[in-house]
């Protein structure tokens, strides 16, 4: 009996060998399609909220948003409103106004398939419309002959050797505008599902600046401090945002791209002759 069994195994084993029609693929292709979420991301700048609560004379709000166009490219925008009072040595002024920034962000960070973090570089065109109020000012005079109480015959006992008051009646300069371009570099990290924490720094270059008569736009909403004889300004934000996924798209892989490129011309050739 044993002889028959062994013979059968040898016989059928031979058949088994024949039934293997395809060669064994030792490197099987991954057929799982990796998808990336596409959608809109909206958020708020935390730094402006924090400074508003900590610093007297400042209130500001900035909304941030972006929309994913392609694998790496995002359309990005910021919308803000700021009111800032600054005390300089001899004058005090308040700037109040709104701004909008529009541009693109390019993600340079290579994510693993389930990650959506970003290290982005980008550019913006920004426009601000605002007003400046000169609250008070003193007159700068290097000569103290008339203001120093020591030189006076009958000085006011309360007098101090201070600059003469120019005016303390607030003076408002309205309908001022400025526009600038910005270079942006920043990071965005997904904290929890669809909640992102971001930070960015910006260098702005003023293009247009409509200034008031006999005063200057020393601070512009969204642009921050304007330095004498320079068109450059710097800014930053720390944003928290929510990502609203709208649709999913297959993650582009370089190998797949090549395959598609190879296949497509053949398909076109076969399709066209069918059309009469």
């Amino acid at each position: 009996m044993l002889k028959y069994i062994i013979s059968s195994i040898l016989f059928f084993g031979y058949l088994l060998g024949f039934s293997q029609t395809k060669p064994i693929d030792l490197q099987p292709k991954d057929t799982v399609v990796h998808t990336d979420p596409y959608g809109i991301r909206v958020g708020i700048d935390l730094s402006r909220l924090l400074i508003s609560s900590l610093k007297d004379g400042y209130t500001g709000l900035e909304l941030v948003g972006d929309y994913r166009l392609t694998d790496k490219l995002y359309v990005a925008a910021e919308l803000g409103n700021e009111k800032n009072t600054k005390q300089e040595d001899l004058y005090n002024f308040t700037t109040s106004g709104s701004y909008v920034k529009l541009g693109v962000d390019y993600n340079t960070y290579g994510n693993r398939y389930d990650m959506n973090n970003a290290i982005h570089v980008g550019g913006r065109y920004a426009f601000s419309t605002f007003s400046q109020t000169l609250n008070n000012y003193s007159i700068f005079d290097a000569n103290r002959y008339w203001t120093d109480p020591d030189f006076q015959l009958n000085p006011d006992p309360n007098a101090t050797n201070d600059f003469a008051m120019g005016s303390n009646i607030p003076q408002e300069f309205k309908s001022l505008t400025a526009s600038w371009i910005e270079a942006v570099i920043g990071v965005k990290a997904e904290l929890f599902a669809n909640i992102y924490l971001g930070a960015s720094v910006r260098i702005g270059y003023l293009i247009t600046n409509k200034e008031p008569d006999n005063f200057r736009n020393l601070w512009i909403p969204g642009f921050n401090k304007v330095t004498d004889d320079s068109n450059f300004g710097v800014g930053y934000n720390y944003s928290i945002s929510y990502f609203l996924p709208l649709y999913k798209k297959a993650k582009k892989l370089e190998e797949k791209k090549k395959e598609i490129e190879e296949q497509e011309p053949i398909e076109e050739e076969t399709i066209f002759p069918e059309n009469p």
């Binding site: 040595d89 001899l90 000012y137 007159i139 700068f140 002959y145 008339w146 203001t147 200057r216």
Partner: protein, 180 residues
């Protein structure tokens, strides 16, 4: 996972460096301008083109206890730079020719020294114009519609005043000519 860290570290470093640079600002010391001084030059009344020094000249602001700071005292001068009051539209000066101390007895019999020179009171009237200069300096004053008002006495040593620049916006050119 180790592959991911370097770009994040680099970017954070870059952000820190840029934030660090934001702390550096242009020096906030005013060097761009100041309220101008009034430049007065003294000319010969007989030869109106010729500068003429005032012997032992002294100038004191009316209401002040000291001579004007920056003008050499009791010196022969043909040109002076004097400050105007910013808070008022009028500034008065005692222009003293041939200034000297004279001993006199006061009612108590004490010997005191008084000014013995020829003293003329001259007031300047003007309108102030505030002008924004720069972030560090803020506003300075310029003076417009300048006019001179000499209080006449029996004999003034100042014979005539001519305003040649009614707008005082610099301290480099002469604004007033005084003939004596």
């Amino acid at each position: 996972m180790n592959k991911i860290k370097p770009p994040i570290v680099l970017t954070s470093l870059l952000i820190m460096v840029i934030l660090g640079f934001m702390g550096c600002e242009k020096d906030d010391i005013c060097v761009d301008g100041t309220t101008p001084l009034l430049i007065v030059r003294f000319y010969d009344v007989d030869n109106r083109e010729e500068l003429k020094r005032v012997p032992k000249f002294r100038i004191v602001g009316i209401g002040q206890n000291t001579t004007v700071v920056g003008v050499a005292d009791r010196t022969d001068l043909d040109s002076i730079a004097i400050p105007l009051k910013v808070v008022e539209n009028t500034t008065g000066f005692y222009f003293i020719n041939n200034s000297m101390d004279v001993d006199v007895e006061d009612p108590d019999g004490q010997t005191i020294q008084v000014e013995g020179g020829d003293l003329d009171s001259l007031y300047f009237n003007y309108n102030r114009i505030d002008k924004f200069v720069s972030r560090a300096c803020g506003y300075i004053a310029n003076f417009d519609n300048l006019s001179g008002d000499l209080r006449s006495e029996t004999e003034n040593w100042i014979k005539d005043i001519e305003i040649i620049a009614p707008l005082v916006d610099n301290s480099t050119e002469a604004h007033v000519k005084i003939y004596h």
